[in-house]
């Protein structure tokens, strides 16, 4: 236990890096995922096919393999990235945006066609229909699954441990090596760090979900 307290600064550093990876790649994949979702519901078929192909490939490839591509394969194609967090952010964003896309798309599809028809029938234009009728409903259904995607992303940042990024999970390996007597206590400390992020986020998603169900 004393080892855990002594090593708190290292744990804190790892925690910050995990949080940094999660926030930056979370924000980027929200943007990219929404763009992909827009392409997937676009009236132009070629855009739909392109986005659908990307999502299908990204969702069925293991994240570790995406990391391998960015860290080991891209340099052999002459594309050398700075070491450290950049490749991790690229890999996490490329992977997570496919899941964001699916969450957003199912949110849009969950709004009944009749809602938009009713909006048009009372004379609202395209923008007003979207702003006042469709998007408020779509956003509500989209938020809980999106939070779940972001929770998964937070846990997925641990994969960066295998690719020279010293975030929480990688820190746990270093801590275990340096304090062989207190391995379990240190690993438990790292687990608590993850739970500090994932459990409150999960509770939030559950609460919002219940509210949405109630208002329907």
């Amino acid at each position: 236990m004393s080892a855990l307290i002594e090593e708190l600064p290292r744990l804190w550093e790892g925690f910050q890096l995990t949080l940094f990876l999660a926030v930056v790649s979370g924000a980027l994949s929200l943007v990219l995922g929404t763009v992909l979702a827009a392409l997937r519901v676009a009236p132009l078929k070629s855009l739909r096919v392109f986005a659908a192909a990307y999502v299908e490939v990204a969702r069925n490839t293991p994240l570790t393999l995406v990391f391998v591509f960015v860290v080991f394969v891209l340099p052999t194609l002459g594309l050398i990235l700075p070491l450290g967090t950049t490749p991790a952010i690229i890999a996490l964003t490329a992977y997570t945006s496919a899941f964001v896309c699916e969450a957003v798309r199912s949110g849009i599809n969950s709004v009944g066609v009749g809602q938009a028809e009713a909006a048009r029938a009372i004379g609202l234009g395209t923008v007003a229909t979207l702003r006042l009728v469709v998007l408020p409903q779509a956003l509500r259904t989209v938020v809980p699954p999106l939070i779940n995607v972001l929770i998964a992303l937070t846990k997925n940042t641990s994969v960066a441990a295998g690719f020279t990024v010293v975030e929480l999970t990688s820190t746990s390996r270093g801590l275990a090596r340096d304090n062989p007597a207190d391995v379990l206590a240190l690993l438990a400390g790292v687990a608590v760090c993850y739970l500090l992020i994932t459990i409150p986020a999960g509770l939030l998603a559950g609460r919002i979900e219940r509210k949405v169900v109630f208002s329907r």
């Binding site: 069925n60 570790t64 393999l65 391998v68 999970t169």
Partner: protein, 290 residues
């Protein structure tokens, strides 16, 4: 695209415009792809590095490379998944049953355990097994996959139990079964059938997560790929990587298709069941169903 909430069903003029726009953007996407390929060609990507998949150098045969990838690599990946999945399922049953327990302490503890397992990265669980309990790499991979997916599958089963009509459990109690018998004989068989599509897609997640063995040093598909490209030199990374991606896509997309097929079959069967129930008042309709 009719039936979309975002815009009205298109008329003939809009349909024509959409077709033209689609072709234009299609050409733009293809042009970008062509530009990417040609710039890669300019960097010498289309040289003899691809021979590693068909006629590899250094005295190896194509058969050696593909045997290592498909038999050793994919074999080890599937072995970890196939050992972990039943363990996860059994553990999930236990967790799901305990979670519906009438004893508050048991219920709360189980809920806490499930939340704990769901909130920790699979890789960290593997590190627990590897560094904390001193298990082998294979055991660590199975440990992480089984524990994590047990928590997820327990939630799937719980959702299934909640979705089942209340009358099922009540009928079980009414004919004199105990609560445990009702669960085992009446509810769980229906839940597994109802949730089969979700369970199959969770198996795809499990299969993908087995690639974390790459990090804890289990010799699965990704590690075999790495061994191969360390041997053949860094130029062979792209072809070997694409081969592995293809293997994963084929396996996972096949499984996902199976999940969709099962779902469709179950839903048509479900309709038939409802239909038969409606007719049940008619004595002639109570004949055994096919």
């Amino acid at each position: 695209m009719s039936g979309n909430v975002l815009y009205d069903a298109p008329g003939p003029r809009t349909r024509r415009l959409e077709r033209i726009g689609s072709v234009i953007f299609g050409v733009v996407i293809l042009a970008l792809g062509a530009w990417l390929v040609s710039s890669l060609a300019g960097r010498g990507v289309f040289d003899d590095r691809w021979a590693v998949l068909t006629d590899p150098p250094k005295g190896q045969s194509a058969e050696d490379v593909w045997t290592s990838l498909l038999v050793t690599g994919l074999g080890a990946t599937l072995r970890a998944a196939v050992v972990a999945a039943p363990l996860a399922l059994v553990l999930a049953f236990v967790l799901a049953v305990l979670r519906t327990s009438k004893v508050t302490v048991v219920r709360v503890t189980t809920t806490a355990v499930i939340e704990l397992l769901r909130g920790i990265p699979v890789l960290l669980m593997m590190f627990f097994a590897l560094l904390g309990f001193g298990l082998s790499a294979f055991q660590a991979v199975v440990f992480g996959l089984a524990l994590y997916n047990a928590a997820i599958v327990a939630e799937i089963l719980r959702a299934g139990l909640a979705a089942l009509p209340k009358g099922q459990a009540e009928a079980g109690i009414a004919i004199g079964l105990t609560r445990w018998q009702t669960l085992r004989l009446v509810q769980l068989p229906q839940v597994v059938r109802l949730m089969l599509p979700s369970l199959i897609s969770q198996f795809v997640v499990l299969l993908k997560d087995s690639s974390l063995g790459f990090i804890v040093g289990y010799n699965e598909l990704l590690n075999v790929m790495k061994t191969n490209y360390s041997f053949f030199g860094s130029d062979s990374r792209l072809p070997l990587f694409l081969a592995v991606v293809l293997v994963y896509l084929v396996v996972n997309i096949t499984l996902s298709r199976v999940a969709v097929l099962v779902e469709r079959r179950l839903s048509t069967r479900g309709q038939k069941t409802v239909h038969a129930d409606e007719l049940a008042a008619d004595p002639k309709a109570t004949a055994p169903r096919p």
